[in-house]
Symmetry: C2
Subunit: 245 residues, 2 copies
Amino acid sequence: MPMPYELYYWPTVQGRGEFIRLVLEEAQAPYLDIARLPAPRGGTQVLMKVLAGKDGPPHFASPVLKSDKLLISQTPCILSYIGPRHGLAPKGEPGRLHALQLQLTLADLVAEVHDSHHPIASGLTYEDQRPEARRRAAHLVKDRLPKFLGYFEQLLAQDGEHLVGRSLSYVDLSAFQVMSGLLYAFPRAMAHLAPQIPRLLSLRERIANRPRIQAYLESERRLPFNQEGIFRHYPELDVIDREAP
Amino acid sequence: MPMPYELYYWPTVQGRGEFIRLVLEEAQAPYLDIARLPAPRGGTQVLMKVLAGKDGPPHFASPVLKSDKLLISQTPCILSYIGPRHGLAPKGEPGRLHALQLQLTLADLVAEVHDSHHPIASGLTYEDQRPEARRRAAHLVKDRLPKFLGYFEQLLAQDGEHLVGRSLSYVDLSAFQVMSGLLYAFPRAMAHLAPQIPRLLSLRERIANRPRIQAYLESERRLPFNQEGIFRHYPELDVIDREAP
């Protein structure tokens, strides 16, 4: 029996850790969500030690995944490792590279969503940068979301069901998460965009209805969206019908 | 003879394309910098066609690298492909993953540097977002640069010469580029930080003095830093000694 994976990530938010959780859940791969376990085995102090390089080189940020003795960080890097191990990535090198490329593009979108409520500094609160957030979010909604989502919609037009290759991959699972987060954070803007992205909305539904994902979403392992994560719902940022300032 | 690589990137800036150029130059791998060639073979129209998916799936953004029939985009993804082909990446899987992890962290830093002069929208000019840029840049200089560079300095303390593995890799070449860009954009802040990052400064010097890199830097193939790229020198953003607003 292989050792269960160990996921090191903040215990109260979906955040970037969620992209890893979704793959492990769909793969039915045993894993421990370490920082959510009680101390001394778990807790954020254990996470901090792993980041600092307790068992190897230091990591700049979480999530970190431990697979046997290997410690890996950076979400797209982790996914490029676990995807192929569990049949959730294309088999050949061109497909693997394409999957990583798309994941990096999703990661760019996620970073832009984060910065829509933190355009000045991640070390400040939202309230400390609200005017700038209103301005940045208006551009996100008006220009960036249509551009990013339009790109992925165009890719789905080719295969119809999957973003890369001809079967489910970690990229599809990540797109599910991004779409779910956007629907939570920007319900008005997403309703406005919906007619332009039918295939992405359908992909999100299909994945939500996969038995393992559905069971996960209904479990306590799935943290709810909240106002500390990447996807936050601030009604004043969910604007349409006005010119970006 | 293999076909020369074809690099598709904006013709007037170093930008993210520079990370690819540095690897190809160090590897002495034949390549064509397509958008810098005269039309109809080159020019930005050819770049736009490749982005739109002329020879395969569309790409969200440049750089795009063509290797025989394979078209790859997203800088860290391209590097994870060409690094191993030219002996500029660790040999085993753990080292390859570590290299990709570090490259993604450098990419995060590059994105934060870009956003220090474009904190609201990449579609606006710098002048349209100057007050916000002053605020974001102050946090970059005060908090983020010390954190990112301190992380890489700590890694160099382990091997002394290389960021990953025991020989030169694409990560070292990318760190050279990031350090060069920061020294151009933030000379005062970097002088202030210098005592804390001697190993990174030394790495930059060593790589600048490698014969192939030196020849490249002195050639016309190396575009100069300028005020349209990622690393821009705005004196009002290069601040120290004041509290981040």
